[in-house]
Subunit: 208 residues, 2 copies
């Protein structure tokens, strides 16, 4: 058996890694309108026929790029404490957004998704998958009795990310350690106060 | 005195309105790389010389577009109640993001700002100005004794917007009335819990 057939890290995996890296680079440099399969093959140093046969469309490459981002993402924290778990989540989001390549790739994908429904669907799957990975931090806190039973776990996890993305996208400012810390503790405090009750209802409002 | 010199709504204002509307349209349709002064003049039905003399660069047109967005934005709510003020703010952000033109213009500006420092500066001035308009909702609540004295008012106001922008940009989902309601009440609950203490410190963490 040839070596490349005996392990998943063989030629097929190398071709995929090269084409996905080329797609990320091209998206960052040129935006979605600058992507075409022949250009990606050239950039990746891979035969055009291979790229056409394996992916067929730029949309399929982008879907695969996003799938790869899901596969290679960090697992959730499991410290046994809601604050510490959400602090770990906020730290991961911050380090992803401030990573020169990952941050630019995410903003490029977000902007490509504005005008392209396929990219938007793929990106939504990516964020939903990442949210689902971290939801147990919240459901475990509910099980421990640290949060109200009707807490919307996905909404809490998204609330940790939201201010960090907002800061980067609306103010062009890289979120810092203090911003990540606040994002986590704001989400945790609001969750304890019952403001993430699901479904959203008047019950989330204070009763003074 | 000629009519156009006697009132601000005269020819000069009409030319400005036409050029800024054209710039918004072009930005939505083509993105920043598609903008040039001659094209904007044509689109606006205004003489090219007028546009070159008045603005000189595409960057200056975009700065003026953002200034106009600040000038024409709604004033803050002043209900005497933090929850109601933040609910009004969240409702305004939601209706802006879901407005077919305003929402697309803001996402187009956000994406243009990713690659262009001038647009990024102008956009940041826009968001900082809008935040400043709504900050008194928080400082008034502090003065009433409804919030801790060291509450970071700007951070609370930004926290209302953040999940609505995040929902639109990462999930391609228009924020609904329930989302706006939750965004406001989460920010208010976290502010009451002291999670927006400024500067961010370990004091925001629960002391259990």
């Amino acid at each position: 058996m040839a070596p490349e057939m005996s392990r998943p890290g063989g030629r097929t995996a190398r071709v995929r890694a090269a084409v996905l890296a080329a797609a990320g680079d091209a998206l960052i440099e040129l935006g979605l309108p600058g992507l075409d399969l022949a250009g990606l093959a050239r950039r990746a140093g891979v035969g055009k026929t291979t790229v056409y046969r394996r992916w067929g469309t730029v949309a399929a490459v982008l879907e695969d790029l996003v799938s790869d981002m899901v596969e290679t993402s960090a697992p959730r924290a499991d410290t046994g404490d809601l604050d510490d778990d959400l602090l770990a989540n906020a730290g991961l989001v911050r380090s992803t957004l401030t990573d020169p390549r990952q941050g630019r790739l995410l903003t490029a994908l977000i902007c490509a998704a504005v005008d392209d429904a396929g990219t938007a669907r793929a990106l939504r799957r990516f964020y939903d998958a990442r949210t689902a990975v971290w939801e147990p931090c919240v459901t475990d806190a509910v099980a421990r009795g640290d949060l109200p039973a009707d807490t919307d776990a996905a909404a809490v996890v998204r609330a940790v990310s939201a201010p960090l993305y907002h800061q980067l996208l609306t103010r062009g400012e890289q979120p810092g350690v203090a911003d990540a810390r606040r994002a986590a503790l704001v989400a945790a405090a609001a969750a304890r106060a019952g403001a993430f009750a699901a479904p959203v209802s008047a019950g989330a409002r204070r009763t003074s």
